[in-house]
């Protein structure tokens, strides 16, 4: 029976791959057709490269200006990583405090909800004035944006722990810390994974947009300066890089999810 179970498992994953390919080819085909139409259109109508560059030109620029893109990408990536770590830590801390301390819950939880409505990227110019052109203001923007989904999902996750699971542990005379570690944290993990996923995707856009009002380097400021020079090929190249980064950030947690939440049925 164990073997049939395993076999069924393999079956499911291979049919999962097949259905993934099955689902992926129609949008891919449309994408490729659109690229070809764009390429042909730009060449046939002799559109100036400064107005709309052909896809082939964007690809060329990405290859030729590799070092320019990589240098700026490095800055943006460090903003993302630092901001994410800060926002993650703060989000978890607030979630734990809100769930386990009634006075803090009463004082902070409504504020957490209200501050979620602040358009964070709109604070970017102000933060550049306060913190300067370095990466500090961008790290803060990313951290703020990562903080909310993590705090909210952390609160929901810790609260999702089953009352009767907690009672079972209590019947074994478990301490508060043991209940936290053995029931509440594992129950919260799937929620946190969702929070991480939302936070990571946000952090890409957050970092890029936070550079717009002013930065020393980064993909976002590259877009702004090259836009001023009408280098639309570089601007579009930067857009491609940001898109690929966001897609990676979105699929990264999905890849580790099976490892971190192995008890969860595949979605």
């Amino acid at each position: 029976m164990a073997t049939t179970r395993a076999a069924r498992g393999n079956d499911r994953s291979s049919s999962g791959l097949r259905s993934a390919v099955h689902a992926a080819w129609p949008p891919l085909a449309v994408f490729v057709v659109a690229l070809i139409a764009w390429e042909v259109g730009v060449r046939a109508l002799k559109v100036p490269a400064g107005l709309i560059p052909a896809p082939s030109r964007v690809v060329n620029t990405l290859a030729n200006q590799r070092s320019l893109f990589l240098e700026n990408l490095g800055t943006t990536l460090s903003e993302i990583v630092l901001g994410f770590v800060l926002g993650f830590a703060a989000g978890i801390l607030i979630a734990v405090l809100v769930v386990y301390s009634p006075p803090i819950r009463r004082a902070i939880y409504p504020l957490v909800i209200v501050t979620q409505t602040i358009p964070i990227v709109a604070l970017a110019p102000l933060l550049v004035i306060i913190l300067g052109f370095g990466i500090a203001s961008k790290v803060v923007i990313v951290a703020l944006g990562v903080f909310f989904p993590l705090a909210l999902n952390g609160i929901a996750g810790l609260r999702s722990a089953d009352r009767e699971h907690i009672n079972l542990l209590r019947s074994f005379s478990a301490s508060r810390v043991q209940i936290f570690r053995m029931v509440e944290v594992p129950a919260a993990t799937p929620y946190l994974m969702t929070g991480v996923q939302i936070g990571l995707v946000y952090s890409v856009t957050g970092a890029v947009v936070a550079e717009w009002p002013g930065a020393e380097s980064g993909i976002g400021i590259l877009m702004v300066t090259q836009y001023a020079l009408s280098r639309t090929d570089i601007v579009l190249g930067a857009v491609v890089i940001v898109t690929v980064m966001a897609m990676l950030m979105f699929s990264l947690p999905r890849l580790v999810r099976r490892r971190l939440v192995p008890w969860e049925e595949a979605p």
Binding site: E164, R170, S171, F172, S173, M182, P186, W263
Partner: protein
Amino acid sequence: MIAQHLLEVRSVCKTFGGRRGVEALRDVTLRVDSGEFVSIVGPSGCGKSTLFNIIAGLIEPDTGHVSLGGADITGTTGHVGYMLQRDLLLPWRTVLDNVVVGLDVQGVPRSTSYPKARDLLARFGLARFEKSYPSALSGGMRQRCALIRTILYDAPVFLLDEPFSALDAQTRLLMQEWLLDVWDSLGKTVVYITHDVDEAVFLSDRVYAMSARPGRLIASVNVDLHRPRDYSARLEPRFLELKTQLVEIIRSEAEKSMAAELI
């Protein structure tokens, strides 16, 4: 008191939610001897589970005491093994890690707890599934895991609250016989809560009947069927007599309380 009962519940009362609250238990007194299998039957909502939680120490009674082997354990946990209708297996732990969870809480090292757990899993036909997550198991297998978890915790008294009521009828009958086997080989004391008179008579040495809310114990019936029992015990005339006796006690009590509600 000279007679030493293993578990004693004395004059326990419990009302939930203040002045206009719900009176769940009124003056409940029961005694269970060492090695005895005692059931408590009553209609749903009669406060059986409240009594259960008070014995487990999860709820404090308003008045009255719970004692185990002569020591007062009122409102303290860790003295009884505890099993509910829901198996309460932790979805993030494998079968093996689930059955040792009580020992984990006590700080027993895995090098000690795993061999014991593997023994029991093998004995109960679950060895193949030790690395599976609970979601891969059937309801009957999950309840067997829950009982193994209770056995490994090794408390002197097992409290079982309708552990098989969510299973289908065939599986339930098999699990009842299996439970009797386990009880027979372990010599544990069992307090079994159920609304099923048939199940109570089949399993128990003694059956307490409980009234509708507020819960009171209204009768104690000795089950003098031979041991060990298997399915054939249900076919004996004495089984039917005992069952009829209990059903009549519970029915007449239910009629009284319905009449009282109509006034």
